[in-house]
Amino acid sequence: MNGEHTVRSYDEELSYLNNLIARMGGLAEAQLDGAIQALVRRDSDLAGRIVAADAKVDELEQEVHAFTVRLLALRQPMAQDLRGIVGALKVSGDLERIADYAANAAKRVLVLNTLPPAKPVSGVPRLARLVQQVLKEVLDSFVEQDVERATKVWVQDEEVDEMYTGLFRELITYMMEDARNITACIHLMFIAKNIERIGDHATNIAETIHFNVKGVPIREARPKGESVLLPEAKAE
């Protein structure tokens, strides 16, 4: 945001809010990373810790809510400040969901670890790496309020969708090959879906950054990757 406020404590409060978001973002990233590590290493201890740590993200979200309401009431923000504060509130919601998806993936890892290893596990970390990169980029763009970088991330979601669709087909094939794979494959499918949803929330954050900085929503249509839904079943 350009320039400083005449009332300096206002600037301090705004930067405190952005720090809260940055902390939440870092935590959400770590949660996703931990869930994937736990999956790859079949590490139930780590998975358990990820599930437990979700409460910390929820706590931070509550703090963002309370602080946002306080800023709105006491500062009566206008223009870019108003957009930034409302944006922070929205981003905190997205980050809370991202951490939730990571925790859910970790819960499924706990179940997977009681089953024999399933073959297509490797596709999931590949999807996760892409989404982790997208998430990192979008969080960095948030800190920098860099619209161009955010818009690139926003477009990248297409790749995530495509990779997810490929994984979906692969998992179906394994399940058809051998019915004993079904339990593990269904859990992997949900983990993959969770990761794909994390990518969607990352694009939401990119849209929020665009609105914060420019004051208008992104107008162009986002390129969509291949869907797992059949064309006639698409809800459009």
Partner: protein, 268 residues
């Protein structure tokens, strides 16, 4: 200046697009000082237009141009054109007293005459010959007080002095006095700056009701007030009109850096 075309017009009530007043290249000089620089602004009928900006930005100077109050200031000179319903208000043949009946004014401090509540409101209609006395005048006084939201509070003491009312009531009395002569435009120069929040809320509610019948231009230092009462906001800085547009646009997504700096409290 950032033009109107870039902003979208949205307000709770449909506003007519008719232009009530228009300033074209308006300049004001106080002696050597160039106080208002080439302002082009349209005031639309049945809208509240808020003029905002830091002290000395020219917003009050511009407001005073709209009913030639600057004529009363020694050394003040106005150039450019200001029209009301298409006719130039700086025309030599124009009767200034008549103009000020059409374009009324409410000031920062409530300034009732040292007369009764009744006579404060009756003063204008009497001197403009709208009604001499008796039932006609009573009706104008009562309906003006009603429209100003004051009648219920003063109906039993119309003969008591206006100066005995509270600050908020005095300001509404001044508004009643302004509307008693059936003006078309009401200019308000920081009408709430001397009032407490409750009296301010009453005046703001009144402004919203008045815009059904009148066109209102208000100068205010409170950006929240501008945001609450106006449909269009014009931002002035160092005598220039920097940006004008739909109020919601100005306060959520202003286009000019100076507007942005001012309304977010990052000035200078």
């Amino acid at each position: 200046m950032i033009s109107e075309a870039q902003s979208t017009q949205q307000s709770s009530r449909p506003a007519s697009d008719a232009v009530k007043m228009r300033a074209t290249d308006a300049n004001v000089y106080y002696g050597e000082k160039h106080a208002l620089k080439g302002v082009n602004l349209e005031i639309k009928a049945h809208e509240v237009t808020a003029l905002i900006g830091p002290s000395g930005c020219g917003k009050s100077t511009f407001l005073r141009c709209l009913n030639r109050m600057n004529d009363l200031i020694e050394g003040a000179r106005v150039t450019g054109e200001i029209v009301l319903d298409g006719s130039d208000i700086y025309d030599r043949d124009l009767d200034v007293v008549h103009l000020r009946a059409r374009v009324g004014m409410v000031f920062q401090k409530p300034n009732p005459f040292p007369k009764s509540i009744y006579d404060n409101v009756a003063y204008g209609p009497r001197i403009h010959g709208l009604a001499k006395s008796g039932p006609d005048l009573d009706e104008i006084v009562i309906s003006s007080l009603e429209r100003a939201g004051l009648y219920a509070e003063v109906k039993d003491r119309l003969n008591e002095p206006g100066t005995g009312l509270s600050g908020g009531q005095q300001q509404r009395l001044c508004i009643a006095r302004a509307i008693a002569v059936s003006p078309e435009v009401i200019l308000m120069d920081e009408p709430c700056s001397a009032l407490d929040p409750i009296a301010t809320a009453k005046v703001e509610e009144l402004i919203d009701e008045l815009r059904e019948n009148f066109t209102i231009v208000i100068v205010t230092h409170s950006m929240q007030q501008a945001a609450r009462v106006s449909q269009r906001t014009a931002f002035f800085h160092l005598g220039e009109l920097i940006e004008v547009g739909a109020t919601e646009k100005i306060f959520t997504n202003p286009q000019h850096k100076l507007t942005q700096g001012y309304i977010t409290g990052r000035f200078g």
